[in-house]
Every structure is written in C-alpha cells, then in structure tokens.
Point group: C2
Chain length 532, copies 2
C-alpha cells in the first residue's frame, strides 16, 4: 500500500507514517473522526511531530475537494443548492468566536461551504463570463497557495517572475507586436487592467501628472462605446478624470462602436478645448459579445495621436484561435490591451493581463523606488524586480495556473477549447433563431459566444397590446432565472439594455459544456417559463 502514495517526491518516512498498512488497519473512519474531534490547529505543523497529523488533516480536506470536483461535473447534481441569505446564515454556525474549534469542526465547515457553493465547474453553469474548472489550472492554483509568495521581487518569487516574463512575451507575440517586445503585468482583474491602461495613457501624454496631479493638465477626455464595460467609467472616476469625461460612442445594432461617431466626437471635444487622450475599444463586449472595428479605430487614433487601448478582457482569448482571431484584426496597432485568461481560457480566477506596447513606461509611470524593497545593490540583475511597475505593493501570483495550463494544452489545446465554445454558441443560435417563442436581441450569427434572446411564454407571445407585452416580457427572465436557481438545474444571466426589456444573455466559456447541455437549457427555459 505504500508504493502508490509514494509517487513523486514524497519522502519515504512521511508516506510511511500516513499510509502504512498498519495505520490504515488500525484507523478506520469512525476512529479518524474521533481523532480530529480531539485535535486542534496547534497539533498541526509547525508543531513538534506535527507531520503526520498535518498530512492527515490536509488529505481529508483534499478528499472533500476531490469528491466535490467529481460531483461538479456530474449533470445529475444541482448547479446550486440555493438559499436566501437569512436562511443560509441559519443553516450553519458561521460565527467567529474567541475560542478555537476542533479540526473536525473545520472539516465540517469545509463541507458546508462547498455544499452551499455554486458549482462553477458544472456543465450547465453559464451565469458569468468565467465558468468551468480546469484540472491542471486547479492543481497549479493549489501549488501557488502552497508556495505562498509575492510577486514584488525576483528574490522572493524567482520562478514565478520568470514565468510571468515568458508568458507575457508569448502573449505579446500572439498580439503581433514585433518579437514579442513590450511590457505588461498580471493584475487583479480586468477593471484594474483597464485602469492601468488609462493611467499609462495619461502619463504618456502628460508625465508631470504623476507629481502635479490633474490640476496641472488640461481637461482630458476618453472615448469608449456605449456597450463597453463599466470599468472604464469606474477607472475615470478613480483617476480623477471624472465619468463625464468619458464620452460614450454610439454602437451599431450589433453593439460595435461606430468609427465615424468616434471621430466626430473627438473633433467636437477638441473644438471645446478638451484633450482626447484615450480610446478604449472593446474586443468582445460584455452583453452582446461584439468586437469593435479595431482597424478603423486604430486609423482614427493614429490620425489624432490618441492612445488606443483594447479591452479584450472577454474577447482577447480569440487571438488563440486561427479561425476566430480575425475579429481582433488591428489589435497589433493598439498601445495596450487587457486580456483575461480567467474568462474564455477558463484559467481559475484571478488571471488578467495588461499588455503594453511601449517598454519602460509602466515602470516610470508607477515606480516609487522604495528602498526597503527594491534595493539597488542586490547581487542579481535588477530588471527582474518587476514589482515597482505595479500599483500594488504585494501582488498575488496569478501566473502559474496560466503557464501550467498552457504547458498542458499547448496553444492548440486552448484553440480547440475556444473553437468548441464558439461552435456551441452557433448551435444555440441556429437552434433558437427561428424557433417559436424566441426572439433574438440582435440579428445575425454571434461573433463571440454571447447569444442574447427573449423567450416569450405562450401567455405573452400572442399579446397584442405592445406596451403590456413588453411589460410582461420584462418580468419573464427574472422569474425563470429565480426558478432555475431554486431548482438548481442551470444558471444563465439576463439583463435589460437601453430600451430593451430583460433578455437572456447566454455565454459559453465552460469547456465541459456540450450540445446536450444547450438542448437542456432551452428545454429548461421552456419548462420553467411556460406558465408565465
């Protein structure tokens, strides 16, 4: 019984303690539980002789997780065991107290937490842009937690700093920047990546803003489409630019920015004496999945000498697909790009990259040269101390899961995964576009995996009073969604948009989803909505 557990680099002595046939013989399940009930955190490492107890405890947590993982992929289990907040608060003891609990109680808390969690790996979980659970990515995230370090210097994260270097370079090559040159960073999410881009654009045009603030510069204005992500406005508010200085450019009926409107608004802003400094084009909008026409936008940015950013948090991953990357043609002309592998590439949360074409700019924009951290007399090449580029001081290691998944899949593995999700969304689109009771929010094949549609239950479908019909239809999606959550069978998002009443926004980023899951979703919507 020893050999199988002693694979890899596990040390003989430890494996022997935990996995010896003797222990297994004398410690059946009931005894182990009793054992944990008498154990406390103080029995674990670094306690003297804590090795065996620690490995036993961690193995029990692993067993709980492994069971959860297998269950998550099982279509016969619920996506969610939903309870209202007040009810959930009463279903377990979640309170914090002065006294310690036993390790047995800790295991109970772990089980309860997973019991009431959303199974984001479930093949029928479609609720967000980030879905699925990649096994290699998960292993890498566990390892990252175990290494428990910080990205600020090479000194404390040598491997991770190198892997960030290797991976960012690869991503820049894929964007199409010569020899993969440029800069970049992994940030805590797309909103922060977009904020970095805006910060860099401002600094590039007015470097004095770093010392002197916004009062030293003319009124700056940024441009983005009315369908872009709210983080552009959130960033502008934080950076002291103000949301009113983010000019929303009209989008066409498919949700793509209209370049002529962009140019018109730029000229208008200049005429008012404002300084256009930043255009954020979107590659894959949140709701429609639209790709702004990057080539035309690049022409305008070049003509007016404005920083061009591409928010590819959602759609950037299509660069990995030979079949779909044309949708981002022109991205190679951008000054910066947000690309979140935690969305369409199904890397575990969080994993968001900002890529920047100009080298050195992030460093000069953000550095403060703290001498307790970035000592200039270290023994190694200081260009690997990349932390001062960041707005953060400590920075979580987000690189390893992406890097390890890339090793496991190769670029072609990611490509296959992405192509499959797009194929599924086309299948869904074809299935419902002419189906009775469905109406598409916009015409034509989706560019990304977003399929936006209304389901009109029989009771709404034939209403003649248009106002009443819209009023009733607006309530359909929220009710069906609430029922989905109560039954726990599937989850999909909905929202209104402009003057359009609530519609479903289906997105597919989960590599576990199949054609049958799409069929199921449609059947489920009809089952849950037929009486409305």
């Amino acid at each position: 019984a020893l050999t199988i557990k002693n694979s890899g680099s596990a040390k003989n002595d430890i494996s022997a303690i935990i996995y010896s046939p003797l222990n297994e013989a004398i410690l059946p399940h009931a005894i182990i539980c009793y054992f944990n009930a008498l154990l406390f955190f103080t029995d674990l490492l670094p306690a003297l002789n804590g090795d065996a107890k620690t490995m036993n405890f961690l193995q029990e947590v692993v067993d709980i997780m492994l069971a959860y993982i297998v269950e998550s992929f099982d279509r016969s289990t619920k996506v969610i065991d939903f309870h209202y907040p007040n009810e959930l608060l009463q279903r377990n003891n979640w309170e914090l107290s002065d006294e310690p609990e036993t390790l047995d109680d800790i295991l109970i808390s772990c089980r309860a937490t997973l019991k009431y969690a959303i199974k984001t790996a479930h093949p029928r979980y479609f609720n967000q842009l980030s879905t699925g659970l990649d096994m290699v990515g998960l292993a890498a995230d566990w390892l990252t937690s175990t290494a428990n370090t910080n990205m600020f210097t090479y000194e404390v994260a040598p491997v991770f700093v190198l892997l960030e270097y290797v991976t960012l370079k690869k991503m820049r090559e894929i964007i199409g920047w010569q020899d993969g040159r440029g800069d970049g960073i992994f940030s805590p999410g797309g909103a922060i990546s977009n904020m970095y881009a805006m910060l860099l654009a401002r600094y590039k045009m007015f470097p004095e803003v770093k010392e002197k603030g916004m009062s030293s510069v003319p009124r700056l204005v940024a441009f983005t489409s009315e369908h872009s992500h709210f983080s552009i406005k959130k960033g502008a508010a934080a950076l002291g630019i103000g949301t009113e200085s983010v000019i929303c450019i009209k989008a066409d009926e498919r949700g793509k920015m209209i370049p002529s409107d962009l140019e018109r608004r730029i000229i208008e802003a200049k005429q008012k004496g404002y300084v256009p400094f930043f255009v954020s084009a979107t590659a894959g909008t949140t709701v429609y999945g639209a790709f702004d026409p990057l080539m035309a936008i690049a022409d305008i940015c070049k003509k007016h000498d404005i920083w061009m950013h591409v928010d590819g948090a959602w759609g950037g991953s299509l660069l990995m697909s030979r079949k779909h990357r044309w949708k981002l043609n022109g991205v190679e002309r951008a000054n910066s790009m947000t690309w979140n592998p935690h969305k369409m590439m199904a890397v575990p949360l969080q994993c968001s990259a900002l890529l920047v074409r100009e080298e050195g700019l992030m460093q000069s924009c953000n550095q403060m040269q703290a001498c307790y951290l970035f000592q200039q007399d270290k023994q190694y090449d200081l260009s690997y101390d990349t932390g001062d580029k960041a707005l953060q001081c400590g920075r979580h290691v987000d690189i390893f899961k992406l890097w390890l998944m890339w090793r496991a899949k190769g670029t072609i593995g990611f490509e296959a995964q992405i192509d499959k999700c797009l194929e599924l969304s086309e299948y869904l689109y074809n299935k419902i576009k002419d189906r009775e009771g469905y109406e598409m929010v916009f015409d034509g094949k989706p560019q990304h995996t977003n399929v936006c549609f209304w389901y009109l239950p029989p009771g709404v479908r034939y209403l003649e009073d248009k106002v009443e019909k819209m009023k009733r239809l607006h309530k359909v999606a929220p009710v069906i969604k609430a029922r989905m959550m109560e039954y726990g069978t599937t989850m999909v998002s909905y929202q209104p948009q402009g003057d359009k009443v609530n519609f479903f926004r289906m997105v597919i980023s989960n590599p576990a989803a199949t054609f049958e899951d799409i069929d199921f979703l449609i059947e489920e919507i009809e089952r849950l909505g037929q009486d409305l």
Copy 2:
C-alpha cells in the same frame, strides 16, 4: 485499505476506483509514471470516464505539495536554492509551445517550480512582512481555488459573501466601532486598500469629483509621515492628486509621526489655499515598525475636519492582542483603516481589508450600477450584492482562509501567535542591544517585531575614519544577504533609510520561528560577515 481514504464526504465508488487494494497492487510507482507519460489534459475531467485519472493526477500533485510542506518546516533544508535569473532559465524547460505536454511533464514542472521556490514557511525565512504557512489557511485557500468563484454577487458566491459580512463586522467590533457598524471590503493588497481610503476621503468632501474629476475641486493635499508606506504616494499619483500633494510629516527618532509637525503643515497648506482632505497615520511602519500617535492625530483631524485613515497593513493585527493593542489607541476614531491579515496574522496571500466607519459611502463612491450584473429585480435581498462597492469588477475570494483560520484558532489563537512573535523580537533586541559588533538603528524596545540593526564585522568595527567606516558598513548587509541566499540558510531584509547606511531590518511574523531560530540568525550573520 479502502476505509482510511474514504473519510469525509468522498464518494464510495470513486474512492474504490483510486484506492482499492487491487489498483494499488497492480500499479506500483514505475507503472504510474509510465501511465502519466501517456496521459494528456484531455484525459482529465470533463473527459468521459475522467474521474479516476483526474483524482490520480490531483493526488500526485497533492503528494508533491505535502512533501514540500513537510520539507519547508524542516530546519535542515534550505530556505532557498538560489540561482541567478539566466541560470534558472536554463535549469528547466520553461517555454510555452503549440503542442501539449504529457501529464508527467506537468508533474515535473510542478516539482521544478517548488524546487526553486522560496520556502516562505521555513522557520528561518524573515525576509518580508508576510511569512509562514498556516495549515488551516492553506487548506482554505485550496478550497477557495476549488470553488473558483467571484465575489461580485451573492448569486455566485453566497457563502463567501456572508463570510465577508461576518468577518468584516467582527473586525470593526475589534477596532471599536459601535456594534461593529460600518463598511469595508477585502482588496488585493494594502496598497489598493490605502488607495480606496484616499478615494473615499476625496469623495466624502467633494462628491462631484466622481463625475467631474479633479478639475472641479480645489487643490487637495494629503498628509502622511516620512516613514509611511510608498503606496500613499502611489495612490495619490494614480488618483490624479499628484505626489507633490502628499506632504510628508516629520517622524521622531523612533519613526513616529510628530503631531505638532502635522498640525503646522495643515495650517500652512490652508494658508496657501490648499484643501487638506486626508491624513494617513501608520500603525506599524514598514521599516521601524513604529506606531504613529493615533489619539493626537485624531484630535488634529477632528479639529481641522480631515478624514483620518490608519494604515495598519502591518500593525493592525496587534488589535487582536490584549497585551499590545494599546499601541493602536485612537484607531476607533479613524474614518478608515487598512488591516492586512496576510501579514502579522499569517493568512496566506492575498488577504487585505479596508474597514470604513461610514456606511454606504463605498457604494455611492464606486457604484456604476451595471445592469448586466447588478440586476434590480432579483429574488433575494440585493444588499448582499456587494460587488459594486469595489473598484474591481471580478474580485478574488480572499475571505475564506481568514475566516477558517479564525474558526480554527479563535481570537485567542491569533493573539497567542502575535504575542509570541513580539516576544521573539524582544528576545532578539535584548540579545543584540549590548552585544559586541552590533548597533541599533534606533534606541529602545521595538514596538512591533521590527528590529533594525547594523552588524559591524571586526574589519569595520574599529575603523577610525568615520566616512570610510560608513562607506564600508554600507556594503556589509548586501554582501551578507547575498551570501545567506547562496547558502540558502536564512533570509532577512536590509535597506538604507535617509542618511543611515544599509542596516538589517529583522521582522518576525512566522509562527514557526523559535528562540533558537533567532540565535541561529545572529550566528549566521556573524559567520557570513566576519571576513568583511
């Protein structure tokens, strides 16, 4: 052999597949390796019949990690197996390619990554403010990765949103805000938490800044001590306030802000027509571990009607100790506080909280009300959709590890851990304060675990030329540090400060450290530095 692995909630059928005596009998180690060499990520879940292969693969990764954990606490192993960047690049194949690698290669990469990682859990790793590896915290972080969800709404993170609510309330009670009322958020680190505080202070005074930007407000100035963390200036640069508008207040010889200088500079700024809006006091400075006099600062802030922030990223955790919390007396009068459990409470990275006294302010300051995410017609109480308070959209789950550790330790467990670290630092201080060859950077018992000192090797100790002595002494710490890393025996930080040449900054946050490790550090410094 089956019973011991089938503890907890693992399903019988799965356990049987992996752990049955039959499999173990027919799959000795060599065969397993060969097996993985032929397996690819496509064999893992969600692949059909991927359960057993997935559990086998994940178990192998777990075995690698368990061995690493046990090794990390073993004083006979190296803290670091150091290699220069170019050398490390050549020691393994770190490149990304088009083609997938086998799962066996993935396991090799996992082993290589840990081989060259810093053992941050090692009892002799003192390099950063975040050290140590808590076994319950690690288990919780693994579970968080497995749950792989996002904090933006209750819908997708019901348990974690509730636990954040429970924990933030508890932290506010400990600060001393009535009934634990107020607000807060877990952010990706102390720098971002501090930036939030500055953003809130500005918004509180000039809410129009959100829409109209900094050009709509008078020139704002912020105040912080010259010993404060660089993130205050970094935040000011990002928010469009500018680093020149951060006025550095003099600190006394122990590194504490001098309140009279604060008031003088506030009055001076007002006379120039500037608007003081933010004072950031530090509870536990990065280098000296000094606690600013919060009560006196609170009086000044109240008098001049300025937002008082306490940057307790490092020292905030002393609130958990009945013996040491007096050092933060006055924090209950602050408007906001940064408190990083990932530092002195040894919660795995990242775990940083911003606590805010006023309820509702974060929401109105940061919300953008994206209708695709924060639908107003959901079935549950929308106050649990806390995501729109954040600057981020997606937000990593940082709460579970803190919450689970708190359950395991109780408040008294954290207290004991913190008290022990402070006791160790006092031991170090007493040991070296009169020891030959040592000089303290500042006099008196340290307030936090920071002990700042020079080691003067015999060759420097007796030099009479003061300029030459300082010049030589400046080079001592970097050389000793480089040698520490090359031998891999221990790691401690050093830096210059103002006109003071390089000195060691010893900090203790690792619960694994003992008196013997402190003795070892001193012996090691002397061993590595005696010839200098």
